[in-house]
């Protein structure tokens, strides 16, 4: 009897572990959904902090509403386009407005909705302080419903035997450096090319006027929230048996660490001063740089990818400034350029198969296609919208600030009384 009891006790843990295997996976994915949603708070704080106080409500509200409208659009149309039956390799043709009830189906849908919201919200900060609210949310709806899912269908869509065309080539982007971040960054670039800089940012006589954000502590906290949330963003790519969870999380963290180092080095070299805004963005650039390959990179190559990401953030932000492209929060640098770099890094640093030319070429194809699709689609959507409704606010509204002119709310009413009257 005693022997029987011992045998039973020795078997119990393995039974419990087996049952918890799938349950644990679902719980982890649910946690990842929440973490990715928390990233929106990070975006919101960074963008809110990097604009002038008279535009804080506007940019924060854009972040809020694009989660709502964007994820609704993705549920309605985008999910089907991205993950529906994809016999052509171009777009999915089933699964629109899915009514899934299974644990796995619902969690997968929820997780993908969070990704879609991330792709949309990247743009809001770049075009802040002059992009009208209504056209912005309409544009965000198009991006989450069409632009993001169509590229997603190419890179992630389909199923065994009928994958998206990029996936069929062997394109690797495990957590969306290109699919989510580059597409978001390139959409921002398309919108920026159309809408132009904030008035006074670049004078007609060539002067560049810096417009610092109103709350840099917000920016730092936002950066840390994003760093924290990124464990869910990349961690959701975990295998069912959790065999690669440690690798995903460690590489994610090392990417961020590398981003800090890279940004600091670049700022020191360019003698710009150790700008907190650039270092926070460098961290995010590092995180984006390991997002495509956190499952196939080693810790050391993740660190290298992150360092280069940090360098890229600072260098490309300066480049865009020289080109008079007024990206308020550095979204194009962080998400567009670092997304492209991170995707290329997979080709360069793929563990056990480094510098494989074939893989590098495939990754480059994905990078170029994402650039053309993101910039082109975004430019086209906003160009069309601009025929119907002015996407840019008037200079008078820019002067007054979008909080008052678009929302009749003041972000800091206690100490902005000398500015404008919200009741007018």
């Amino acid at each position: 009897m005693l022997r029987g009891l011992i045998v039973s006790l020795s078997v119990l843990p393995s039974i419990a572990f087996a049952e918890a295997g799938s349950a644990g996976y679902y719980v982890w994915i649910a946690v990842c959904c929440a973490l990715v949603l928390l990233m929106q708070a990070g975006f919101l704080m960074i963008e809110g902090g990097l604009v002038r106080s008279k535009n804080a409500v506007n940019v924060i509200l854009k972040n809020f509403t694009d989660i709502g409208l964007g994820t609704m659009g993705f549920w309605l149309v985008g999910f089907g386009l991205m993950f529906g039956v994809n016999s052509t390799g171009l777009i999915g043709m089933s699964g629109f407005a899915p009514n899934v009830t299974s644990v796995e189906g619902a969690l997968n849908l929820l997780y993908q909705m969070m990704f879609a919201a991330t792709a949309a919200t990247i743009m809001s900060g770049a075009v802040a302080e002059r992009f009208s609210f209504i056209p912005y949310i309409i544009g965000a709806l198009f991006i989450t419903s069409l632009v993001y899912p169509i590229f997603g269908a190419w890179a992630w869509g389909g199923e065994e035997g009928a994958y998206g065309w990029l996936k069929s080539l062997g394109f690797h982007d495990v957590a969306g450096a290109t699919v989510v971040h580059s597409i978001g960054g390139w959409c921002a670039l398309g919108a920026l090319l159309l809408i132009g800089p904030r008035f006074g940012r670049y004078s007609r006589k060539g002067a560049v006027h810096t417009i610092p954000g109103h709350n840099l502590p917000f920016v730092a906290i936002g950066g840390l929230l994003l760093w924290f949330g990124w464990f869910g963003f990349n961690g959701g790519a975990v295998e069912r048996d959790f065999s690669n969870l440690g690798q995903l999380l460690l590489n994610t963290h090392l990417g961020a660490v590398g981003g800090v180092v890279g940004a600091v080095i670049m700022l020191a070299v360019t003698k710009q001063g150790f700008l907190m805004t650039r270092i926070v963005n460098g961290t995010l650039g590092g995180l984006v740089s390991v997002t495509a390959g956190c499952d196939v990179l080693l810790p050391v190559t993740s660190l290298i990818a992150g360092v280069i990401g940090g360098l890229i953030v600072v260098a490309t932000a300066n480049f865009l400034d020289r080109m008079k492209i007024d990206d308020v929060v550095g979204a194009v640098s962080v998400h567009g350029f670092c997304g492209a770099w991170g995707t290329l890094a997979v080709g360069l640093f793929y563990t056990g198969d480094m510098f494989n030319i074939e893989r590098i070429v495939v990754q480059l194809v994905g990078i170029v296609v994402a650039f053309l699709w993101g910039v082109g689609a975004s430019y086209g959507i906003f160009w069309c919208l601009n025929r119907v409704i002015d996407i840019r606010v008037s200079t008078r509204h820019e002067q007054r600030g979008l909080d008052v002119s678009e929302h009749k709310e003041i972000g800091y009413s206690d100490f902005m009384t000398s500015h404008v009257r919200a009741d007018k």
Partner: protein
């Protein structure tokens, strides 16, 4: 327009103005404006009211009073209307000599001039080169959004090295807002948006202390 008709319409305009306000200086300024700009055109009450609204910044109540009084006067015979007082025909009972110039001006006029003057002074303190450019740009370009009279005032201001801005006596609130915005954009071009916002905030805070700010809040310019 015959001389008789012009005399009659002058009486109609005077009657309207005198029902709208008892302030002789306002009546004189508005009447002179009508005489200079509109007396040679076919008489149209709506047009007269619209022009005076634009250049004198009339309130809704003043506009209504002016319109009704002119409408009623235009249906009367010239003999039934009041004759023009001496201060409108060049007689000796002109009150303005004894009245300080400031009393001629509306609150929004004084407040607007003070805000712009303060902004210019701050640009001078901030960046002498930008200040010199500000004066040059004002003289060279002028603003499309404001009247010729206002642009002339700005030209005079720039020639005086941006000191002692005197806006036209009759200027509408909307024109003051346009003027402020155009000036704000010019400052933004020269010293940048953030410095311009700071300058504006200081100018508004300073101007809020003057007496006329009770009638016209400088924040209403923004």
């Amino acid at each position: 327009m015959s001389s008789n008709n012009e005399d009659f319409y002058a009486q109609v305009v005077y009657t309207g103005l005198s029902r709208m306000t008892t302030d002789r200086n306002t009546i004189k300024s508005a009447f002179e404006f009508w005489h200079k700009k509109l007396s040679n055109r076919p008489f149209n009450i709506k047009e007269v009211v619209a022009y005076l609204e634009r250049y004198a910044g009339l309130s809704t109540a003043e506009k209504k009073a002016l319109f009704i009084a002119m409408q009623a006067a235009s249906n009367k015979l010239p003999s039934e209307l009041e004759v023009l007082p001496g201060y409108l025909t060049g007689g000796d009972d002109v009150p303005e000599a004894s009245v300080p110039v400031a009393e001629n001006l509306s609150s929004h006029n004084i407040v607007s001039a003070r805000v712009l003057q303060s902004m210019a002074s701050q640009v001078k303190r901030l960046d002498r080169e930008a200040f010199a450019e500000l004066a040059t740009d004002l003289a060279d370009v002028g603003f499309d959004e404001v009247s010729t009279l206002t642009n002339q005032a700005l030209l005079a201001w720039s020639q005086a090295n941006l000191s002692g801005l005197a806006l036209p006596k009759i200027i509408a609130v909307d024109e003051c807002k346009n003027l402020f915005h155009a000036f704000y954009l010019l400052c933004t071009e020269l010293v940048g948006p953030v410095a311009t916002d700071d300058i504006t905030n200081v100018a508004v805070a300073e101007t809020a202390k003057i007496e006329q700010a009770i009638d016209f809040d400088p924040r209403d310019l923004l």
